[in-house]
Symmetry: C2
């Protein structure tokens, strides 16, 4: 079963911890229906995809000869586009500063415990803030902190007028209720855009969310800045996580695409995806999407960042997307690479959201 | 252009006022993107559908001969299923009463002004409450009331422990901010399920909304109680209103369907809909969906309630769905009629939501 088998069997523990997967774990959902109705089933998850016997592994993994064909796809350079956005944010921060007599946007990051990967993320976020002139505030709490300690920090940042965005670095220690802590963040400072109120408004006609989640917002920015027309196109989003798939589908629909969401219970994902003009893959399964999933000429945005075994790499693994890049390149008209595609956009959008929040706080936008 | 032309030209004003259309009017949407991005376009609306030249009117209207063929579809009897649900609600209200020492669920309906249609709806809701043992509370305010008057009434019901659900009868007089008044209803009493917090939670993995909007909840109940398997099926929802299309798509996905939302900017709606095992049509355009939109064997839920001219009818018009019933009957395996399909389910679900709210208030469910 190619790299999916390897993924399960051989991936080193430290590699797993190095990587923030793009989808969350499966959760049972219940919905208040009247009467004796069948219970709602479990949500999709990477595990369900990996356990499916009907899905063939990416051929390029098995047959390296395929890579000798000439690719057709333009590469969407997420690193370059993200850099451009950071420059724009820098300019707007300067303008904000001059308009407000020296005020700058502020982002607070709450880190609990000392996970190596979390510390790396927090450091890179703070560094990115500094580069564009956003003030960053940090509060590092020990693993042993109580939920109340964390809530107290969140409340402090909620009330601090120099803080315009608050991030809780996930995962929190197991003894804390993540949902409760996240819900404590003021919706006006929810720059992650994960608050159900923001998700609800994103889905609804005539409503405007205060913030759009960073990764799906980054996907749409990549499309728009690559002059991909979304209106009237058929888009397929593979995956339906709260942080990527679901808001990505909502955004594509707001841009007038006809959207189909493919998930682990979709019987014929390749056939459905093959109808799409635009594909956003956000499952968290290495090389799930083979070349035979892609319609010739489609645009492919690959959100996955998955470690696969690679003895030639220094750490023993390398990062690949949910899409088999080599195969998809032969079909797509444009595609994002991994790394260097969606990844750099997430942090650029976080900076953009924080800037928007500050502008709103200073009355410069609604 | 068949009945769509007639709809625009000839429909009597009182007929329009008699009918509560299932979709709201088009609204411009904006979403806070950084940089000089193209603005988001207008949402879909029945008007956009009606103005499309590429969509053929329902043939059965043009060619009555078609109706001589034998229909294949079982009729899903919404009236009977709704009656069954009301009986179940009645029994549960009795049980609640005995468990709480005489407490019953309470529904408050706020009516502003004296629109004939609104008065009819309010009357029928109160009558339905009475039949199942739910207490109904009403507050009828004059058209000239101020927004503050209405808000004061909403606050009173928010605080009243014998009220478990609050409905604001729409439309409100033009001098009031509908969104603001609706937002004043406590989310614990939002039995309509329209609060963005409920919609957000409905969309999200691992979250449970307090209430699911009544009409889409009714559509799913019709499928479930007709033993239609949803899991793994391809569903197409036509229309993306806040009250029906969008939450219906979310619900189908929670039941593990692969969902495509077709809207007025979908270039090939018949072709896309023809792939569906389950179709929910909720646009508000009479006979939009012809037989050629339906895959043989599909299940069709028709949410539309549209008046079309009919000189033989007492009022000069009759009510038809978004689906051309006569044509779809030749293709579908099961279909809801209009009237007598989804319509009766909406009020049954409202009673069910109010019961659930009361159970929650008395600690009988979470």
């Amino acid at each position: 079963m190619g790299d999916r088998g390897n993924f399960k069997k051989n991936l080193r523990k430290d590699a797993r911890e190095d990587i923030k997967l793009t989808t969350s774990s499966s959760t049972d959902l219940h919905c208040s229906f009247h009467g004796a109705l069948p219970p709602l089933l479990g949500w999709n998850s990477p595990e369900i995809w990996r356990d499916r016997d009907d899905i063939q592994p990416c051929r390029a993994i098995l047959d390296e000869d395929l890579t000798k064909t000439e690719p057709t796809a333009a590469i969407i350079d997420g690193k370059m586009i993200a850099e451009k956005i950071r420059q724009e944010v820098t300019e707007e921060v300067t303008r904000l500063k001059s308009q407000t007599g020296g005020k700058v946007p502020g982002l607070a990051v709450v880190l609990v415990g000392s996970r190596k990967d979390s510390e790396t993320y927090v450091r890179s976020k703070k560094k990115a803030c500094k580069e564009v002139g956003i003030a960053s505030f940090g509060e590092d709490l020990p693993e042993s902190s109580s939920e109340e300690d964390v809530l107290a920090v969140v409340r402090k940042f909620n009330e601090d007028p120099s803080v315009h965005g608050i991030l809780i670095q996930l995962p929190l220690p197991k003894h804390m209720n993540e949902e409760k802590v996240l819900a404590a963040v003021s919706v006006e400072k929810d720059v992650d855009g994960f608050h159900p109120l923001n998700i609800g408004k994103l889905a609804m006609q005539g409503r405007t969310p205060l913030f759009v989640p960073c990764t799906p917002k980054g996907c749409i920015e990549l499309l728009l800045r690559s002059n991909v027309d979304i209106k009237g196109k058929h888009a397929v989003v593979i995956g339906r996580s709260n942080v990527v798939g679901t808001p990505a589908a909502m955004l594509l629909q707001r841009h007038q695409a006809t959207v189909t969401v493919v998930h682990s219970y979709t019987p014929n994902p390749a056939e459905v995806t093959r109808r799409a003009d635009i594909v956003i893959a956000a499952v968290g399964v290495a090389h799930l999407v083979g070349g035979d999933w892609i319609k010739p000429g489609a645009v492919v945005i690959d959100v996955g960042i998955n470690p696969i075994e690679d003895p030639s790499a220094k750490k023993g693994y390398r990062l690949v997307g949910d899409v088999c890049f080599k195969e998809a390149c032969m079909k797509a008209s444009a595609i994002t690479p991994v790394p260097g595609g969606v990844g750099p956009m997430t942090i650029a959008m976080l900076l953009s959201n924080t800037l928007d929040s500050a502008k709103r706080a200073y009355g410069l936008i609604n």
